[in-house]
Amino acid sequence: MNQKQFLETIHPFKDKVFRLAKRLLVSREEAEDASQELFFKLWKNREKFEAYKNVEAFAMTMTKNYCLDRLKSKQAGNLKLVHSNYLEKGPGLDKEMEVKDSVSLVHDLIDQLPEQQRIIIQMRDVEQYEFEEIGKVLGLKPTAIRVALSRARKKIKEQLIKQHSYGVS
């Protein structure tokens, strides 16, 4: 497989890889770096493509693993600190909330979710993968995926209702 063929192969899902990386790593810059790393790795492993029926699933799994590792090696504390601003402060929420528009609020809400739920929301609601596909990437059964998905969506729902009741449009 030459480079041209490789790029053609990964073209359909290269942005999905990026978006998942960004979902997990939050920063666009980091996500770009991670994506580059991942494609590099994929290129090195291109012989394995034959063995994988679904290169996309393989790529997404790699992305998940890579990003989760990155998160672990970072000061996990740091990340949580940033987001706990939203979660812990109850009524104080409205101050920060007022500044942001509601759509980017949703973005932040999702980013605050535990990693696994984040991945599932990203893969289902944004990328529209089937539960079986998501299950392959996470190593979970579709029923477990649904449960986690439900939890995640409900959490967002709660925040949105709260938000709405504060009268922010």
Partner: protein, 143 residues
């Protein structure tokens, strides 16, 4: 467009994680329209977000480890050809020279042999006696 009731039940399903992709698409469509019921309005950001987020893309082109190794491969192949060509040319020239040398040496050897044979031939005219064997060979010349 779906009825409010229908949307209600879809939403319920949605938060239970029970909707399929087609139903989720329906919800997205509803929430992007102008006909969102007031009681549903709080969810608009969610579904708008999902509709838009798909569009986020990598800004930079993917860089793969370039043909530095490939370049090297081609260079070394080109070098090999150049080397082979020069060896061939060198060899051809050498061969040609060797052939020329061999030719002149052969020429000299033959001349030497020939001279010595003729020595006998010349002497022959002066000799009374001569070897039987020589007569057989040189017979025709003397005629």
């Amino acid at each position: 467009m779906e009825s409010v009731k229908k949307i209600d039940s879809l939403l319920k399903k949605y938060f239970e994680g029970e909707t399929d992709l087609r139903e989720e698409a329906q919800l997205k469509k509803y929430f992007s329209s102008d006909l969102v019921d007031s009681k549903h309005k709080q969810y608009t950001p969610l579904f708008s977000y999902f509709s838009n987020n798909e569009k986020e893309q990598l800004s930079n082109a993917i860089k793969l480890p370039k043909a530095k190794s490939q370049r090297f491969k081609w260079m070394s192949i080109a070098a090999s050809f150049a080397l082979m060509a020069s060896v061939y040319v060198g060899y051809s020239i050498k061969q040609e020279n060797e052939i020329k040398d061999a030719f002149s040496q052969t020429q000299m050897a033959l001349d030497f042999l020939s001279g010595n044979m003729n020595k006998g031939n010349q002497a022959f005219a002066q000799l009374d006696k001569f070897k039987q064997t020589t007569e057989i060979i040189y017979n025709q010349k003397n005629k």
